[in-house]
Symmetry: C2
Subunit: 118 residues, 2 copies
């Protein structure tokens, strides 16, 4: 990303991949869900709900579906009684680890800065 004397048009090209990524991870919850699934090997609906603080069943359900469509998360139905459902991150989902780490690191530094001020 060099600087100076660029046109909006050039800029738009550079921005496109960022927009694509944002489209997929948009919203308050998706990144958090992915983070949690990276943390656990596998996860039930209930454990997910407990781990992503504040999320409702409805939102969790909705977000999981969208993540499944984009193949970042997979859902396995195990034929027990009652049925067991397991959520797991896919290898493709794992590929977003750099994003999560960047967000995590920035958050840690940010907290230091905020606390340092007070």
């Amino acid at each position: 990303m060099e600087k100076r004397y660029k046109t909006p048009k050039e800029c738009l090209g550079k921005l496109m991949p960022v927009r694509d990524t944002l489209d997929i991870f948009q919203g308050k919850w998706k990144i958090q869900i992915i983070s949690v699934l990276m943390y656990y090997d596998e996860c039930s609906f209930k454990l997910l709900k407990e781990s992503v603080k504040g999320i409702t069943s409805k939102m969790l359900s909705k977000e999981l579906k969208e993540l499944e469509v984009n193949q970042l998360v997979e859902r396995e139905v195990i034929d027990t009684r009652p049925v067991t459902i397991r959520y797991r991150i896919t290898p493709y989902g794992e590929s977003s680890r750099d994003i999560i780490i960047a967000l995590y690191n920035w958050g840690v530094e940010h907290r230091k800065k905020i606390i340092g001020k007070k």
Copy 2:
């Protein structure tokens, strides 16, 4: 980020910095604005508006204010006639470069994957 046998409580701790970061960069536009400002050395309102495709004056104005509050962007008023306004990314804003790069890289790979499928 190790795996297995973690509790929701441990998980919440790991999630907090991510949540903090998300709070600040939340929304459709902030990351894009920051990206553009990383690309240019400095930028007028007009140029920003042209570079962040689809954004309205209202949104741009609102988002810039929020970014200013969080000290990611600075606004300089130059006393010409009519006044010139310059937006610039702050050093703190620059510190989010790793996030932007991670998003950019993922977007590039994602596009490859999507195109490869079709």
